[in-house]
C-alpha cells in the first residue's frame, strides 16, 4: 500500500496512509501516515466504536490539510488496551512450541500454493484480454 501511495503522490494526487505497522510504512517512506498503535486489522479505528473511527479519519483529513513535508507521521492518541500482551504475542516464536512452528510451516506452504494458483489464474486471464 505504501508503494501505491508513493506512486499516486508522485503523479499529483496527495495521499495519506492509515496503518498500524509503523516500522514497515516508515521504512518504505510515504508522504503522510496516521499510525494507530493497534493490532493489525484495525487501521481505521476500533471495531464497533464510531467515535474512534471518526477520530481516526479526522486525523487523516487534518494531515492532508496540514502536513508540512513528506514522511509526516501522526500517531493517534487512542489506546487499544492497557495490556501490551497483543504487542508481545503477535507471531512471536518465543511463545510457540516446536510442534506449533511445524504446524504453521505446513499451513503456510499450503497458503503459498493456493495463492500462487490464484495468481497464475489471474495472470492467464489478463494475458487472454491483451
Amino acid at each position: 500500500m505504501s508503494l501505491i501511495a508513493r506512486h499516486l503522490e508522485a503523479s499529483g494526487i496527495p495521499t495519506v496512509v492509515l496503518g498500524s505497522a509503523k516500522d514497515i510504512v516508515e521504512h518504505c517512506g510515504v508522504p503522510r501516515f496516521v499510525f494507530s498503535d493497534f493490532p493489525l486489522g484495525n487501521s481505521a479505528g476500533k471495531p464497533n466504536d464510531r467515535d474512534s473511527q471518526a477520530a481516526t479519519l479526522e486525523l487523516a483529513l487534518q494531515l492532508l490539510e496540514c502536513a508540512p513535508t513528506s514522511r509526516t507521521t501522526v500517531q493517534s492518541p487512542q489506546r487499544w488496551s492497557e495490556s501490551v500482551a497483543w504487542k508481545v504475542e503477535f507471531q512471536n516464536i518465543e511463545y510457540m512450541s516446536a510442534e506449533e512452528i511445524a504446524r504453521r510451516r505446513a499451513e503456510f506452504d499450503k497458503i503459498k500454493q493456493v495463492g500462487q494458483q490464484i495468481r497464475d489464474n489471474t495472470e492467464a486471464l489478463r494475458s487472454k484480454k491483451r
Partner: protein
C-alpha cells in the same frame, strides 16, 4: 524496575510500536524459510501539497480488503487465514453501494482482532459522514481494491498503474489508503 524509574513513571518496557519487520523475519526464519523478505525502502519520498480545500475535494479510498468470493471458504469474522479469498487484480466498486468486504486473506492479528466490524479497516461509512457534514467535498464514485502481492515489482508495474488510471478517470483529488 529501580526506584528512580518508578518515580518518573515510564511506560511498560514493551509498550512501544511492534517491530514487525524483525518479528516477521524471525518468524519465517524459524519456520525454515531462509530467504528473508526485503521490505520496500526508499531514501526519497514524493510530496504534493493539495491545491484545493478538503471541502472542495473528491476523495478516493483504497483498501486491501476483498469482496466476497463464492466457493472460497470462510471469509467473515474470525475466519482462519484464507489464501483462496485473495485477489490479484485491482478492482473498483461503486462507493454508494455496500458490499461485504473481508480480510480473511490477510495476516492480521487473529488473536486480538475478529474482523467483525469492517468499519475498523474500511472507513467508507466514516467518509460518507464526513461528506454529509461538508468536511470533504465528495467521495469518488468508486473505491479501489489493491492486491497484496508479495512481488513488489508487480505492485509497482501493474497495481500502481491500474489504481492511478482509475483515479484519474474518476477525477480524484486526494487519496486515503488503508492497509489491513
Amino acid at each position: 524496575m529501580t526506584a528512580v524509574q518508578d518515580d518518573i513513571q515510564f511506560a511498560e518496557l514493551h509498550d512501544a510500536p511492534v517491530q514487525y519487520m524483525q518479528r516477521l523475519r524471525d518468524y519465517y526464519l524459524a519456520l525454515g524459510y531462509d530467504n528473508p523478505y526485503r521490505w520496500a525502502q526508499y531514501a526519497h519520498v514524493p510530496f504534493c501539497p493539495p491545491d484545493k480545500s478538503l471541502s472542495e475535494s473528491r476523495i478516493g479510498l483504497v483498501t486491501t480488503a476483498a469482496p466476497f468470493k463464492p466457493n472460497a471458504g470462510e471469509q467473515g469474522p474470525r475466519a482462519p487465514y484464507n489464501a483462496a479469498a485473495k485477489f490479484y487484480q485491482v478492482y473498483g466498486y461503486p462507493s454508494d453501494r455496500d458490499q461485504f468486504l473481508g480480510i480473511s486473506h490477510l495476516g492480521y492479528d487473529r488473536v486480538y482482532s475478529t474482523a467483525e466490524d469492517s468499519n475498523a479497516f474500511f472507513p467508507l461509512p466514516a467518509l460518507r459522514e464526513a461528506a454529509a457534514q461538508g468536511r470533504i467535498g465528495e467521495i469518488s464514485p468508486r473505491y479501489y481494491g489493491a492486491p497484496t502481492n508479495r512481488s513488489q515489482a508487480t505492485t509497482v508495474r501493474q497495481d500502481c498503474v491500474d489504481i492511478l488510471r482509475m483515479m484519474q478517470q474518476d477525477e480524484v483529488d486526494l487519496a486515503i489508503l488503508v492497509p489491513s
